[in-house]
């Protein structure tokens, strides 16, 4: 298991992470969410050892990743652009990674490249932004490391390639492996993530499995008929997404309030399907510090 324990990191006199913790269990796809500048990339870089944490630790099967870096043969980070590999050919990168990661799957790499219409002799720098992401994600998945960290993998990728990319990500997941994805594409995570970690003010207070989230949070459309007061929605467990006249679209995190509202005959209540985007808007909306 990959365990991130109370990680703190200060960069340029700004406390980016302040006690962030979460766990990644085998077989899971974990979505790391947060507004721009909340420290998602810093978090991934700290997990993989690019940055040393100021406090806390990252352990893989109980071994500290920063003191025993050799355990990182099972931990791969794919950044949002493969700028470090720009001088290399695609096949050359595969040969290098095959020497570094013992379980590297060359067949998978070559077949997937062919599917994307990429040739091994091509230089990384010659690829378009989207193609670079397809290539680097393929490279990362081909390592067959047990924990793969992807930073914005669908950045700049067109709709068709995005589908292909999500398919190979899902296809590469085994019961022993896990993938952590940092992304703004919430509707994609909606479909593939098992667990959501929300990064806010350098902390990870909100962590849910998608199943738990759907049970815990309701999206409701409430119509206040004559005589009913909307004041009962002024509670911390309620977030109004939209209000058009008497019609309120809200998110609600309380069973008691839901029961109370349901019993009120002056209200018309309809339950809508909850999306990750709704929940994210609620939880991150007040994050004034986020850039």
């Amino acid at each position: 298991m990959l365990r991130i324990e109370t990680i703190a990191k200060r960069i340029d006199n700004r406390q980016v992470l302040s006690g962030a913790s979460f766990e990644v269990e085998p077989g899971q796809i974990v979505g790391l969410l947060g507004r721009n500048g909340t420290g998602k990339t810093t978090m991934l870089r700290t997990i993989v050892g690019i940055y040393d944490p100021d406090g806390g630790k990252v352990t893989l099967d109980g071994i500290d990743v920063h003191t025993k870096p050799e355990v990182k043969r099972d931990l791969v980070f794919i950044p949002d652009a493969p700028t470090a590999l720009e001088g290399y050919g695609l096949g050359e990168c595969a040969k290098m990674f095959a020497r570094i990661y013992p379980k590297f799957d060359m067949d998978f790499f070559q077949i997937t490249l062919k599917e994307f219409g990429l040739a091994e002799g091509q230089k990384v720098r010659k690829l378009s932004k989207g193609m670079k992401m397809l290539f680097s994600t393929t490279l990362g998945l081909a390592t067959r490391a047990r924990y793969i960290l992807l930073d914005e993998p669908t950045n700049g990728v067109d709709v068709i390639a995005k589908k292909q990319l999500l398919a190979i990500i899902m296809g590469a997941l085994t019961p022993e492996s896990s993938i952590v994805i940092s992304t703004h594409m919430l509707h994609e995570l909606d479909r593939i993530a098992d667990k959501i970690v929300l990064l806010r003010d350098g902390k990870t207070d909100e962590q849910w499995t998608l199943e738990q989230l759907q049970q815990q949070v309701r999206k409701l459309q409430i119509v206040f008929t004559e005589g009913a007061s909307a004041q009962m929605l002024d509670q911390p467990c309620v977030h109004v997404l939209q209000q058009i006249g008497p019609v309120h679209t809200v998110l609600m995190e309380s069973d008691e309030l839901y029961t109370l509202l349901s019993d009120n005959s002056k209200l018309l209540i309809d339950e809508l399907p909850l999306t990750l985007e709704d929940w994210f808007t609620w939880k991150s909306g007040g994050d004034g510090d986020a850039a």
Partner: protein, 327 residues
């Protein structure tokens, strides 16, 4: 431990990153040593003696036992290889901080010490290969051109040994400088500082010691390293000492490198303070010298110049230090 030092993935990556420099060192080294012998030979054959070679050829004709001619050539080979080794260090460390290459390295399953030692071993291998191949070519050339009869081979071999040690120690200094520099530009700038700063200090101390009669500063000629990159007059022990110390310092500093500081001038906090203090004092010394010679001679003139320079230098380095350099 040994297995860790010779991890083929890491070696391949580091070799791939620096391989162009091996070729460059071989080619430049060739033009600095064996090719020069061929040129000497063809000039001697043609009978036309001209330019900077004139005195050498004349004296060689008068005194055929001319190992000095070879040492003269070897010293220019030495300077060339020192420059190339410093460029190699910049190529391996300064360039790595550009385009997130260092971030890729730090994400790999290797310790920082292992990475730094592998870089050093690759660099040392490049230097040894390029020097030995060119020296071998030179020996072949000396034999082929019938110069061998006037060679003192024992001296030649000793000189090559010392040359190797000096080049390796210069390379190791360059690598150490790279561990504290935050960008390619910073690495290049600090390499120049390391080369020329001792001369500047000597030059400044000469004025200060003369003006204020500070006895301790009068020994400026004897400070360690003041002439390291210019005279190369040190014996093997100081070079070996410098090599070992800079390797140790390099490993320690690379281990504590903060990738988040890449783009700054200095990535190690303690060296940032040293940079600020050093820059301000150097600016003071420079302005003191300038005012003393151009406007008001005497202690007061120097003192005013030093004070103003100190202030200007401090403000400048504070402003410069805020900049993030992309390269």
């Amino acid at each position: 431990m040994l297995r860790n030092l010779f991890d083929r993935g890491l070696w391949w990556k580091e070799f791939r990153q620096a391989r162009l420099m091996l070729l460059a060192m071989l080619v430049v080294g060739f033009f600095a040593l064996p090719y020069t012998h061929i040129r000497y030979y063809s000039i001697m054959q043609s009978g036309e003696i001209y330019g900077e070679l004139m005195h050498i050829i004349r004296e060689l004709k008068e005194t055929p036992a001319g190992f000095w001619m070879v040492t003269d050539l070897l010293s220019s080979f030495l300077s060339t290889m020192i420059v190339m080794s410093l460029i190699l260090a910049i190529y391996q460390l300064g360039l790595e901080r550009h385009a997130h290459r260092q971030e890729l390295s730090f994400s790999l399953p290797y310790s920082r010490s292992q990475m730094y030692i592998t870089k050093l071993l690759i660099g040392v291998t490049f230097i040894v290969i390029s020097i030995l191949i060119n020296v071998l070519l030179d020996i072949v050339m000396l034999y082929a051109l019938d110069f061998s009869f006037m060679m003192m081979w024992e001296d030649y071999v000793t000189y090559i040994g010392k040359l190797l040690l000096v080049v390796l120690s210069a390379y190791s200094i360059g690598m150490f400088v790279g561990t504290i520099s935050g960008s390619l530009v910073a690495h290049i700038a600090f390499t120049f500082v390391v080369i020329y700063y001792p001369e500047f200090i000597r030059w400044s101390f000469r004025t200060v010691s003369h003006l204020y009669e500070i006895s301790i500063l009068q020994n400026y000629n004897h400070y360690p390293l003041t002439t390291y990159f210019f005279d190369m007059q040190y014996g093997s022990y100081p070079s070996l000492f410098i090599l070992l110390v800079t390797i140790g310092l390099g490993i320690v500093h690379y281990r504590f490198n903060h990738a988040e500081h890449n783009g700054k001038w200095v990535v190690v906090p303690i060296w940032e303070k040293i940079l600020i203090i050093g820059f301000a004092i150097s600016s003071g010394l420079f302005f003191g010298f300038y005012v003393y010679h151009q406007h008001y001679s005497g202690k007061i003139g120097y003192g005013i110049g030093f004070g103003v320079g100190l202030l200007i230098g401090y403000v400048m380095i504070k402003l410069l230090n805020r900049l993030r350099v992309r390269f």
